[in-house]
Symmetry: C2
Subunit: 430 residues, 2 copies
């Protein structure tokens, strides 16, 4: 297909008519295709179903009965397994419940309720009309932004470049404004763009001068072992912070939500020894322990960190055909018209980020919806749900089957073109 952008007004009108007829036909099919959330498919979950037969025994190495109360920090066996996987000392890891999101919310809530390092609770500043601000690399993960919005954290978007956030901008902002107390980072295969942070980005984040002396990096390594096309290394942020003289700067989050079961996996937070001590202090008022039997299930199911990598290879084999088809369909359908759409080429993770012609994202998503294809809401990957260019659309290929995905992508591409032509011709949405 020739580029849409070289067509005359008349040709565009003709094309719109013919595409619209195809679209109306699609609408009659009563499809229900969903590419909205990063949900694993049933086939992926089946790879972990043996986990449900564990634990085979429930006595820990130190003799503790894992069925009973206690062990707030999480069982040593589990902290060592993930410490080995992530190159973090087991003593600097706290196992959480079934969701790292919960740990992120709680950690930010603790900062609001109690402050850190004996400094003022962030809620006090909020109450005094000096809201805490966070830098939000965009596009990013909507649930990070929801946590901020819920707690009244003012979000400042910063562009996410090919090797991490725009660090020139980030370093300038954090140096100038002492109300900027944090930044959200998804350092590997970021949601939704698949960006992987370079060593230089990690070092700069760890060493930059910040006006706030309680500045914190929320390091959500959600896709830390989720390579599909290529294994990407990631510099150790905790070590980098320690080396730079800011050992308490980073909270590191990880979970098995997209390794074993979303909602029934295990999560962890890791940080400096001082931060771990401080967190455990608050947590000791919050709970007696998280679910040690589920920690033990994971330990007995995986055994070693190498087996986690092997498991990820199997998951990648299920995901790759889905990413292949999304990328191939985009190339075939839109590759000839660069201004109409561009998209990410992730090496792993869960998403493809599609940028349509400015001003066309909401319309594209709405058109797709009306033809039975549910996408993440346009704007969701920006703070307050506001994409200033109305351009970004997140594609989540994991949940549908390859067949459904193929069908859904055809409709999405059709909608991208329709929205572009409507925009160019000034056609009001029907």
């Amino acid at each position: 297909m020739a580029s849409l952008t070289t067509l005359s007004k008349e040709d565009l009108e003709d094309l719109h008519s013919s595409l619209w007829n195809i679209y109306k036909q699609e609408q009659t099919k009563d499809l229900h295709l969903n590419m909205s959330r990063g949900k694993p498919s049933a086939e992926q979950l089946d790879l972990s179903v043996e986990l449900l037969q564990f634990p085979k025994s429930y006595t820990l190495a130190d003799g503790t009965d894992a069925r009973n109360y206690g062990v707030l920090q999480g069982i040593g066996e589990c902290r060592r397994l993930f410490g080995d996987l992530l190159d973090i000392p087991a003593g600097q890891i706290i196992m959480g419940g079934n969701a790292s999101l919960n740990l992120m919310f709680d950690t930010l809530a603790f900062l609001f309720l109690f402050g850190t390092e004996r400094k003022k609770p962030w809620a006090d500043e909020r109450a005094q009309g000096r809201p805490v601000k966070f830098l939000c690399p965009v596009p990013g993960y909507d649930r990070h932004f929801t946590i901020c919005e819920e707690l009244g954290v003012e979000m400042i978007p910063v562009p996410l470049l090919s090797d991490g956030p725009d660090m020139d901008l980030v370093t300038r902002l954090v140096k100038e404004d002492e109300q900027i107390k944090g930044i959200w980072c998804v350092p590997l295969h970021s949601n939704p763009q698949g960006v992987c942070y370079s060593d230089k980005t990690v070092d700069t984040l760890a060493s930059m001068t910040t006006a706030a002396d309680d500045f914190r990096i929320f390091w959500d390594n959600a896709y830390g072992v989720h390579h599909i096309y290529e294994e990407v290394p990631l510099k150790n942020i905790l070590k980098a912070c320690e080396k730079a003289g800011y050992p308490n700067r980073c909270y590191y989050f990880f979970s098995t939500s997209k390794i074993t079961f979303p909602g029934a996996g295990v999560s962890l937070i890791a940080s400096s020894p001082d931060n771990v001590k401080e967190l455990l202090g608050h947590m000791s008022a919050q709970t007696i322990s998280h679910d040690k039997l589920n920690q033990l299930r994971h330990v007995q199911f995986f055994g070693t960190s190498e087996n986690i990598h092997n498991h990820m290879t199997k998951l990648a084999a299920l995901l790759k055909p889905k990413f292949d088809i999304v990328l191939q369909k985009l190339q075939d359908g839109l590759g000839a018209s660069p201004p109409v759409a561009s998209w990410s080429h992730p090496k792993g993770g869960y998403f493809v980020s599609l940028n349509v012609f400015p001003g066309c994202a909401k319309r594209t998503v709405a058109l797709a919806k009306e033809a039975g294809v549910t996408l993440t809401g346009a704007g969701a990957s920006y703070p307050y749900g506001k994409d200033p260019k109305d351009s970004n659309i997140r594609i989540a290929p994991s949940y549908p089957s390859v067949g459904e995905l193929s069908q859904a992508m055809d409709i999405l591409i059709l909608c991208v073109k329709l929205a572009y032509i409507e925009n160019k011709l000034g056609i009001q949405p029907k």
Copy 2:
């Protein structure tokens, strides 16, 4: 044995010498007996071990795959099971994670961070030097008090009488002071006294006039089905609040920590429809869902609320001999000397509350500790760990075996007597 209180000074001195010799002998035995926490015994946990073979299937009644994301409020199957058990509509129940304590902390944290019914966050008042106050029936559960202390809630102790908190005092205080925004209640088989709230107490709590229009009852029904000697009914507080015109007054907590596994059970919070909606709003920023597979395990293991009651009967059969021996030993050892000690006669729950001669609790616990018997720290059942009379000691009979318990009780009784005589004779602790 004759009453200690009728002995002459000389007789007391002789008795002290002989008891002290016995005590020194006990010390040589290098015992390690623990009556400090309400931990179930291994035999109790064994009754639930089949639970670990569940879930047998993971597709919910509505077709949802319980292994995947979603269902923030908790699976309908589980909410109906516990709703049936507790006489609460399933729609008014939110399933939590593995610990109701976590729900209590989070609920109070939400009030601090966000307020309720669009009123000011409680943290704002704290920041403005007007701390929130909670009424704390004493003696009570130390972890409730720890939550308050952590969040900076000022605790006001109120006496716990035989049918609930001293409601004359409670109604007066809440009417006078708008900073009193809550009360902790363990309405059945309370920790540590085994008090069960009368209908009148429930009705008064539900209907009393409070100066604070965001006053909240934290209703921790931890022992709601934990009857041992006698089944005790409890009036439905949520219905009472609704009837009294204060539908949003009460947060109701429950868990299976002492039904199935501490740390690997399920918990719930129940409240009015408005409160449930408000809580779910905050929770939707905090997590995607709690562990649905564990909810399903419990549903498949129990099946019906009747089976939960049957299960509790088996647990009670394991607990009863332990309570029997504690009560018998206390009667045999201290029954003749009423001023030296008095104790609760619980109908269920997990504790016996022992009141020793005023000024002797700390010394008794210290003596026991040095003879190898660990008790809950004296004062723990009071806000800030301060028992004004230094009199209350909590006995937790569940964890040790009957043999260990018998031995531990002999030592405890010995220490009660020694501490009393030391106190009477003005003997400085050796």
